[in-house]
Symmetry: C2
């Protein structure tokens, strides 16, 4: 396991709980939009109506009314035709990753992933000691030729792991053409593809792009969805959707992992989806995060020294910064923390290391004034460290 | 993984949701004693006071006030001196088993366990493909000489897994002398010992026995505690307690497995432990389960044919039945299901098979009249199948 990187991030996150710290480090949603009142009403309704059932053991695959609601939401958002039987409720998408790793991976197996990729995936998968092969990204997503080449070099690869929409850590979104091209290659090689999509509903601008699973004639995609970013993360409610032969095995693996996800949490969410308006809440999140992203982009444009490039995400929680090649983001972090500003150095997101001149900035969890102030402080550090840098 | 046995149990449990079925099959607590009203109040208090915090991501090791309350309860119940730092909150004890397996087990590693043992353990561990070596039990618990012999035969054994109090599936409780003897052997071999104790607080009669962890000078015991049987199982709240070097690694493994256990569930339990009276609820559970156990024992005494032996548990949820050697509990089950009575054949609890003439009966989830009626029907099946059996 990449324990060093994981610990490093934990150390950074420890600092960020101090209220004086301006944190661009975590991936926390804005708590001011958590539907606390709706949840209070849902708790009352669930405990009044079916308290005993909601507190008892329940089936591993998940509460049926919740799986039905998830299938309806997927149909509505993506025209997907998945049935509740194709859905397994998980204790956060992190558990989806753990179960997928258990299903597919053994010592030395090859996993193909974007470069950079989500560190929670490398942490979950590393327990099973696979080999991560990073596939190049450009502005349209995973480079199809690079994937084809990686699959020729590793025809025995067990999985392709992807976050095609508002990627963590880069904020990039794959184009529709790229999705089609990547899925054609995966289909030809019959390699399972994980489509991790925690941020897809948080689009601020631009046109929605089809899911990978919409270019999947052979049923190779296992789709990971979650309520952590559109409802709240504290209940740990997510799902895996995929073909029955995968889901059946994942159900057995989940039974061994935690029997089932909290019955009460599943009932609360089903009640919330039934009686409250999650789409109104998602609209509010989109507006708030768009303002915060704009504040960050404007502050960067105003204050960052030249020679620094960054992404302009159309949604999601993160943007990605590349410093001049000789500048170490870990040094920048050390100096920023002295000025009470935190972020995650980008090197942590490359399973095979390197890229120490990159960093990830989160904009979802700080108000606009703090974002502007934090970027201004970070910019002053960047001016110090890039003095004399080749342009 | 022992998928066949797991599926078999799932099939049986599917039958038992039909209301006309008298089920001795599951291990469900009595829902009529779930503290629904206390939880409604706790939900109101938590969401009013700290709704945003309770719905946000939280630390992997667990909510500190909850870990403090757990440490206090362990001190109170067992004179244990564990600190909140020695405690990791898990998503049910099933997750504790998954994490322990990840920490200790690889392909082919030897796990020593009671014979029979908890099927949820074999399911969690089997993902890592260990070899289960069963150690003989007698009425005082795991036979110390048999353990010593197994450790001589397998000095590289990675774990000893035990449920010393009101064991699932047998209902047996190890004597204090046996606990001391087993721990002396484990200490000499420096082999980690899992003490899984979900039922320890549900004693109806007899004197409490010290924990294995009270005979553990080298800190080899990882103790698994849970709120599933003394509060409710639907929130999936349990813990692992052990030496810091184990707990630190388990925290990292849990981070990869599900980031953390539901923040809301942890806050609800901490509030419940603070403002309600869990000990009064445990007293009520003890009285109820004692009556149900008595009803079952009396019905067995009145109706079972000769040649059948069974345990007389002093607490917990289960008793264990041994039929004459030639009688198959699976055949008995098939006939019982025709009469709407369900139980779990005992063979499922032996990782290496055999013992098809045994069965497990649960008495916690059915009212007394149904227990009497169910045992009477089961007895009629047993009379049919044991006709002509050698005594």
């Amino acid at each position: 396991m990449d324990i060093l990187n994981a610990s490093e991030i934990r150390e950074i996150l420890k600092v960020t709980v101090r209220p004086e710290v301006i944190s661009f480090a975590g991936g926390l949603p804005a708590p001011e939009l958590f539907p606390v009142d709706d949840l209070r009403r849902a708790a009352e309704a669930v405990l009044d109506r079916s308290g005993r059932e909601a507190l008892q053991y329940s089936t591993t695959q998940g509460h049926e009314p919740l799986r039905e609601a998830i299938a309806r939401r997927m149909a509505q958002a993506y025209g997907s035709t998945s049935s509740p039987d194709d859905i397994l409720v998980t204790s956060g998408s992190q558990q989806g990753l753990d179960l997928v790793a258990k299903l597919f991976l053994d010592d030395g197996d090859v996993v193909l992933c974007e470069s950079p990729t989500y560190i929670g995936m490398t942490q979950a998968f590393s327990v099973f000691r696979p080999r991560f092969v990073e596939v190049a990204m450009d502005d349209e997503g995973m480079v199809a030729d690079a994937l084809a080449q990686a699959l020729r070099a590793h025809p025995e690869a067990k999985l392709v792991y992807t976050i095609p929409t508002f990627q963590n850590p880069t904020g990039k979104t794959w184009s529709a053409a790229r999705r089609r091209a990547v899925m054609e290659i995966a289909t030809a090689h019959e390699v399972p593809v994980i489509e991790d999509n925690p941020y897809g509903e948080l689009r601020f601008e631009g046109e929605p792009v089809p899911l990978l699973k919409q270019f999947d004639p052979k049923g190779l995609v296992l789709y990971l969805g979650t309520f952590s970013k559109v409802f709240c993360p504290g209940l740990r409610l997510a799902w895996v959707e995929g073909q029955a032969s995968f889901i059946e095995k994942l159900v057995l693996l989940k039974q061994g992992a935690d029997l089932h996800t909290s019955t009460l949490a599943q009932h609360l969410l089903a009640e919330y989806l039934q009686s409250a308006d999650i789409d109104a809440n998602i609209d509010a999140l989109r507006s708030l995060y768009r303002c915060r992203r704009d504040a960050m982009l404007e502050a960067i444009a105003a204050a960052f020294p030249p020679g620094i490039v960054h992404t302009r995400p159309q949604g999601g929680l993160f943007l990605w910064v590349e410093l001049p090649p000789h500048v170490s983001a870990r040094d920048v972090l050390a100096r920023s923390l002295e000025r009470q500003v935190a972020f995650v150095p980008g090197g942590s997101f490359f399973p095979n290391g390197g890229h120490e001149n990159t960093l990830r900035l989160n904009y979802s969890n700080m108000p606009e004034e703090r974002i502007r102030e934090g970027i201004t402080r970070l910019a002053s550090v960047l001016r110090e460290v890039t003095v004399g840098a080749p342009a």
